[in-house]
């Protein structure tokens, strides 16, 4: 029976039904147009930033551009304090959010009983949707006074910003990392347990490595959110565009990030002025940093997950 079936069915499979062909051509071209237009849009954004930012890079001596003084009114456009502010706030935020997010995801996905997971997961996903301005406001009236009572001269510091950013990145990291853990096939866990691994050994040595590409995506998206966030950081980092002296406590000094600078000053600059172009140059810098992080992530995922036939976190 099975042998006799085959010659009969193969001509059927190769002959295309004319009506369906057209439908497929249309759908295919719509998808193609959508994909290509995204590339074009990103390309145009880059060109626009380049167009508006380039005059600043050409006008201002490079030594000044990468110098430590940001006094736009006195025509001093050193980006270093802003770069430093962004870096400090982001790195500290990631250092806080990463261990917390990954361990929470492991608890939710591997240890918590199903009913608890079913309650907690949606709540965490709702947290991801809170507008950043609300969190900034909360940080301003609740967190900043707290940090001031801990002994900082002002509550609006790099650390305050990092805490708020970490809080914003956490739901993204938890939710996506948990999805990645959930996608790890049950057989891997069974295999480890059957050898005599404890639950913790199974999680740490089998499940988490199997989910690593998805976990990496979670972390990258979390970092992406932290770098790109403007409003909350604008409200709580104190907005002082200076690099704290080495003697001071860096973490508990006011700083200003690149995003916050653009948001705060764009409304006031004269169009076409050097200041205006510098703000675009900052945008260009942000664009390049984000691009670098994303391609790094893509490469890491390619190395760790590319060869597996059943990657843990196929997202």
């Amino acid at each position: 029976m099975a042998v006799a079936n085959e010659p009969a069915s193969s001509p059927l499979a190769t002959a295309p039904a004319p009506g369906r062909r057209w439908g497929e051509v249309i759908i295919e071209s719509i998808i193609k147009i959508a994909g290509v237009s995204v590339i074009f849009i990103v390309g145009f954004i880059f060109l626009f930033l380049l167009w508006e930012g380039l005059p600043a890079i050409l006008d201002i001596p490079l030594r000044q551009l990468f110098g430590p003084q940001w006094y736009p009114i006195e025509e001093h456009f050193g980006l270093l304090p802003l770069l430093f502010g962004s870096l400090l706030v982001t790195v500290v935020a990631v250092l806080i959010a990463l261990p917390l997010g990954i361990t929470t995801a492991i608890y939710l996905g591997e240890i918590a009983p199903p009913w608890l997971r079913d309650i907690l997961k949606p709540i965490i996903e709702i947290l991801a949707g809170i507008p950043s301005i609300v969190l900034g406001f909360l940080g301003w009236i609740a967190l900043a006074p707290l940090i001031q009572t801990m002994g900082a001269p002002t509550g609006l510091t790099a650390f305050t910003g990092a805490l708020i950013l970490a809080y914003m990145a956490l739901p993204t990291i938890i939710s996506i990392a948990e999805d990645a853990l959930y996608a790890v096939p049950r057989e891997y866990r069974d295999g480890a347990l059957a050898i005599g691994a404890t639950q913790w050994q199974t999680i740490w040595r089998v499940v988490v490595p199997a989910a690593r590409s998805g976990m990496l995506i979670a972390v990258m998206l979390g970092i992406g959110r932290a770098i790109g966030e403007t409003m909350a950081v604008l409200m709580v980092t104190g907005n002082a565009a200076n690099i704290p002296a080495f003697s001071e406590n860096w973490l508990f000094s006011p700083v200003r990030t690149m995003t916050a600078t653009i948001a705060a000053e764009m409304g006031e600059v004269a169009q076409g002025s050097t200041h205006y172009h510098v703000l675009y140059a900052i945008g260009l810098l942000l664009f390049l940093i984000t691009l670098a992080i994303n391609s790094l992530a893509a490469r890491l995922i390619g190395v760790s997950g590319g060869r597996r036939s059943r990657p843990g976190g196929s997202l």
Partner: protein
């Protein structure tokens, strides 16, 4: 029933998934260093019984066991029994090959590593080589130990899982239809391996296939009809 040569003795053993009773007051003995095959119609509880022997069913919520299973004279369902330690003595090979998505070496080294059997890299390499030889896989993979295990074909993957199991030197190996996902050639090589393993290990195997049971020269056929 309890003859001294029995490695495992099952006494009045029942097993429940919630309210559903999958095994009814089972009594049987499993002889040491022989292959015992469990044969029976689909859904009669063969896999359930096998997973009771290393308490893998503990990982399924809402399950319950009654009666006793003695391994070397000690009840594995005794309240103070350490399940993790038990599973180190009773290895398991699954129906679908399930190597970890790691290198071939890491797969075999997994057990010795987590049990802290050795700290030295040299000794670990020796254990890995012996286990792979024991699973009749060494010659095929000795030049590619760092390759991802998922690049192996299914028959090699299943033998890798056997190597991973014997690397921690269990005394019993449970196999649940270990050849059902393999092609005939791979099946023959795994059956061949089982015959050799029976010299050293007590093997309990679930199979659908009477011919397979005959080929591997099993000792006792337990009718799997537990209900």
């Amino acid at each position: 029933m309890a003859t001294p040569t029995n490695k495992i003795d099952v006494q009045n053993f029942s097993f429940y998934y919630g309210d559903f009773q999958a095994l009814k007051t089972l009594n049987l003995g499993i002889v040491e260093k022989r292959i015992t095959a469990l044969i029976g119609p689909s859904g009669c509880g063969k896999s359930t019984f096998l997973r009771c022997l290393n308490r893998m069913n503990d990982t399924i919520r809402g399950t319950r066991a009654e009666g006793a299973i003695f391994l070397d004279g000690q009840d594995i369902y005794a309240p103070d029994r350490d399940v993790v330690e038990l599973r180190q003595h009773i290895g398991m090979v699954f129906q679908r090959p399930n190597p970890f998505p790691q290198s071939i070496f890491e797969n075999v080294a997994f057990g010795p590593r987590i049990l802290g059997i050795t700290k030295s890299r040299r000794e670990l390499e020796t254990i890995v080589q012996q286990s792979l030889e024991g699973a009749a896989l060494w010659d095929e993979v000795k030049h590619r130990l760092e390759d991802n295990a998922l690049q192996l074909n299914p028959g090699q993957q299943q033998r890798l899982c056997i190597a991973r199991t014997i690397a921690v030197k269990p005394s019993v190996i449970l196999m649940d239809e270990p050849c059902s996902a393999l092609d005939p050639v791979a099946t023959l090589s795994v059956e061949d391996l089982m015959r050799r393993l029976a010299e050293e290990y007590t093997i309990v195997i679930v199979t659908h296939n009477m011919q397979q049971a005959a080929r591997i020269g099993l000792h006792g056929v337990s009718s799997g009809s537990a209900n």
